[in-house]
Amino acid sequence: MRCFISLWIVLAMMVCLISTPAFADEPQEVAGLLKNKIDSVLTVLENKDMPEAEKKKKIMAIVNPVIDFELMAKLTLGKTNWARLSQAEQEKFIELFVERLKASYLDKTTLYADQKVVYHPAVKKGNKIHVPVEVVTQEETAEVLYKFYSAGSQWRVYDVEINGVSLIRSYRSQFDEILRNGTVADLFEELKRAANE
C-alpha cells in the first residue's frame, strides 16, 4: 500500500514536471504565432509591385485562420442583444458584421505602410493570453494589445485593443445605442449603410 502511494506521488510529480514548462511556454508560443503572422503581413505590405486588391487578398489569407471574426461578431452584440435575434437574424448579423470588420481591418493595416512592430512579453490572463505590441510609425506610437483565447487545438484572436480602446467594446457601445432606440431591422440598415459609405 505504502509503495502504491509513493508510486502515485512520483507519478504526480512527474506529470507536474512535464506539464509545467509546457504550460509556462504557452504565452511565448502565442507570441511566436502572432509575430509570425505580423511578419508575413508586413512582407506583403512592403511589396511595392503588388496591386492593392491582391495585397488585401493575401493579407486576409494570412490572418483569417488566427482571427475569430465570427466570435467577435457575437461578442460585439453581447449576450442580451444576441438572444433578441432569431436564428436567421443571428446568421445575417454575423455575415454583415464579419464583412465589415474584415474591410475595416484591411483598411487600417494598409494605411500604415511604414510601420515597425516592437514586441513585449505575452501575459496569461486567466485562460486567455494577451500579447502587447507597439506599432511605431514616423508620427506616433500605438500600443496594440492582441487578445487570444484557446479554440481547441489553436489560439485565436477575439479582441484587439488600440491605445486602450477595445474593438469589441467600441462596436458594442454603438450596437447598444442603436438597439436601445431602434429595432433589429434598424441595426441591419446601419450595418449596410455604413459599410457602403
Binding site: F4, I5, G78, Q87, G164, V165
Partner: protein, 256 residues
Amino acid sequence: MVLLTILVVSSAAAGEAAGHLKAALKAPGDTAEPRIGDAGETEFDAFDEFESAAPPEVYDPLIGYNRIMTRVNDRLYFWVLKPAAQAYGAVLPKFARQCISRFFDNLGYPIRLVNNLLQFKIKGAGVETLRFGMNSTLGIAGFMDPAEEGFQLAPSDEDFGQTLGYYGVNGGFHLVLPVFGPSNFRDTLGRFPDNYLDPLNYIRNTYVNAGVPVLEVINGTSLRIGHYESFRKDAMDMYILFRNGYTQNRKKEIEE
C-alpha cells in the same frame, strides 16, 4: 486511500443527482431544439469581460449638445482644418513639419514633469527631464528627438486630468469641446492648470499668442491626414464611437 475513494465516488454521485434534479426541474418547453443562442450563451460567459460594460457606461446629460458639437467639429475638420493642413503640407516638406511637431512636444515638458511628480512617477519625471535636457541641446531646441532615437527614452505623457484620475476623481459628465473634441468635466477642468504650465501662454505678443496654437494644430493635422477619416469610417454612430473611444483611452492612460 479508502477514504479518498469514497470521497470521489460520493461527490460524483452527488453531481449526478444534481444533474437529475436539474433535468427534472426543467419545464417541458425548455427541451426544444437548441438555437445558436444557446451555444452562444456559454461562449458569452467565457468572455464576460465585455459583459461588465453596463449600458449607461458614460454619464451624458448633455448628449443633445454633445451630438451637435460632434457634427460641428466634423464639418470643421473637413471644411477648414483639413484643407488648411493640406495647403500647409504642400508648402512645407514633411521633415520640417515633423521637426516643428517635436519642437512643440518638447515645450510641453513642464506640464509632463509636474503631472508625473504629482502622481509620484519619479521615473517618468526623470525620463522627461533627461529628454528635455538632451533634446533642447543635442536636439537643437527640440527640433530633433535624439533622446528617443539614440537612447530609447520614450516620453511619459501625463496631464492634469490624468493626475485627478490618479487621485480617484472620476470623469463626471461627458463634454465635447469645440475644436478639441471629446472630453469630460474632469479633463476639461484639467486643461486650466496645464495651461499655466504651458510656456506658449507666456508669450507677450497678442498676435503671436493667438497664432502659435493655430500653427500647432495645423502642423499636427498635416502629419495625421487620413487617421481621422479612417477612424470615422468605422462608425455606425459617430458620436457614440468617439465618446466610447475617449472614455476607454483615458481609462487606460490613468491606469498606467
